[in-house]
């Protein structure tokens, strides 16, 4: 039986942020009794979760417990076998297809086009969201993730750490209100980790409201969360 514990830990989130969180019901994510199964293999069940604007939720659990699957379910990439997922943006519950307009997603299995340069990748994905990136925009975004000056290089020539940074640039393209990060600091060096921490903090204090769900086992990243969901493997 998959057990699930919700611990709400208070971390130095400013009181104003928390007050803003309750004043903005039009951005939230709520999971009710969500469960999933691959064929006959049960991954998890009975997950309940509520994240509001200004909050960061961390998801943790042993390898193979389904943290990534849970994130994919929230992103609308997989439909859960049990339970309901309500992602509310602008006061409206978004369907799985519409949800993706408001998400930024970073994950180890996300890959960008290796035969294109970083700039071309960002331009392409930007165009898909109706965002035209000028040269200055590109420079600014690449600088934000510490890839300044490497925009013209093909992603195929990037190291794994650089690819991870580019994924953040991709995720932040449309300035999404929801960030879903799966193993956020995988392959990153110290400066990369600092960048991610900045991004998460900026997401929490996003003026129009923002939240993040992070799947990780790293203790340092677990500290970033206001609440933790633990997905336990079968005892």
């Amino acid at each position: 039986m998959h057990t699930f514990t919700l611990e709400t830990t208070e971390h130095g989130g400013a009181p104003e942020t928390r007050m803003n969180a309750s004043a903005q019901p039009d951005l939230s994510i709520r999971l009710e009794q969500v469960g999933h199964r691959f064929g006959t293999r049960k991954v998890f069940s009975g997950i309940d979760l509520a994240v509001a604007a200004g909050q960061v939720c961390t998801v943790t659990g042993p390898n193979g417990s389904g943290k990534s699957t849970l994130l994919r379910i929230v992103a609308g990439l997989i439909a859960p076998v049990e339970g309901t997922v309500s992602v509310t943006v602008n006061g409206q519950v978004q369907s799985a297809g519409d949800r993706r307009n408001y998400l930024g997603y970073v994950s180890p299995d996300l890959t960008l086009y290796r035969e294109l340069s970083a700039a071309e990748n960002l331009q392409f994905f930007g165009r898909l969201r109706g965002i035209t990136l000028t040269r200055d925009d590109l420079i600014e975004r690449l600088t934000q993730v510490g890839l300044r000056g490497r925009g013209r290089d093909l992603v195929g020539t990037y190291s794994s750490g650089m690819r991870q940074r580019l994924k953040y640039a991709f995720a932040l393209l449309a300035d999404p209100p929801i960030l879903l990060l799966d193993e956020p600091t995988a392959n990153l060096d110290v400066s990369g980790i600092a960048i991610v921490e900045t991004i998460v903090a900026a997401q929490r204090s996003r003026p129009e409201g923002g939240l993040a769900i992070i799947a990780t086992n790293e203790p340092r990243e677990l500290e970033w969360g206001d609440m933790t969901v633990r997905v336990d493997a079968e005892a």
Binding site: V89, N101, P177
Partner: protein, 260 residues
């Protein structure tokens, strides 16, 4: 600070997304040249083989027996039977060539995405319908490019006549659309099934056979002198309808293939 407004996300239309995907695919293709080169080499190799194999064939007159056309192919001089290597047959052979070429190269667009796992990024950014449209357009462009290059070479090599030019062009266009449409949806299915290239061929074969039958029928019309318009519309329309129906069905069903 109360209402939340997502101004960065504008509702992008399908066509814009599809064209963006098309541009990306063309850019990547021109850079890596994978699909074009594999299709091109394969097609020209087949062309050479075909030329070699059919070098000895000659055009022969035909008669109608029991409603079917048979070649009067007994060559009294040599004392042997000759097969009927007339223009409709040459057109059929050309299209067999294109079918193989299509199945050599048009799967690349989907298989590449699936293999390098860029599908996730696309799924997060695009509507499924736009993905299908973009990939279909890409395959259409690649196929028409191949056709534009190969057809003149083939005509020069085999001496195929064009018959009535307008009908010929319509047949080639309709055939191209049908072939590209079939190849696209089968590529999407086979890529998702993570099968080998053999699966792609196995799935596509029945559809291609029907397509070829319709095409041969339309090809025969091209060479009928002063064909009545009704007949042309019937035969070429039959071929064109295949492509249209495949595109319609694929459009409605694609998102079941694309989404998990």
């Amino acid at each position: 600070m109360t209402t939340f407004d997502q101004t960065a996300v504008t509702r992008v239309s399908w066509w814009q997304q599809a064209f963006a995907l098309l541009r990306k695919d063309l850019k990547a293709e021109l850079r890596t040249k994978v699909a074009i080169s594999s299709v091109g080499i394969f097609t020209f190799a087949s062309l050479l083989l075909l030329g070699l194999a059919t070098a000895a064939l000659k055009e022969v007159p035909t008669i109608k027996l029991l409603g079917l056309t048979y070649p009067i192919s007994f060559d009294t001089l040599v004392g042997k039977q000759q097969p009927a290597w007339d223009s409709p047959s040459k057109m059929g052979m050309l299209w067999v060539l294109f079918c193989f070429a299509a199945f050599a190269g048009l799967a690349h667009s989907f298989v590449h995405e699936e293999e390098t796992n860029t599908v996730a990024a696309l799924r997060l950014s695009m509507a499924p319908g736009a993905v299908y449209t973009g990939k279909l357009l890409f395959n259409l462009i690649v196929l028409f490019a191949i056709m534009a290059v190969v057809t003149p070479v083939y005509i020069a090599m085999t001496g195929m006549t064009i018959g009535s030019p307008l009908v010929f062009l319509t047949v080639m266009l309709s055939g191209g659309i049908g072939l590209a449409a079939t190849a696209t949806i089968i590529a999407a299915l086979a890529a998702k099934a993570q099968g080998t290239g053999a699966l792609y061929g196995a799935l596509g074969l029945p559809l291609l056979l029907v397509f070829l039958m319709l095409l041969m029928n339309a090809a025969a019309t091209v060479y009928v002198v002063n064909a009545p318009t009704l007949r042309i519309v019937k035969d070429v329309g039959g071929l064109f309808s295949f492509g249209v129906l495949i595109i319609s069905m694929s459009g409605m069903l694609f998102h079941f293939v694309w989404e998990e």
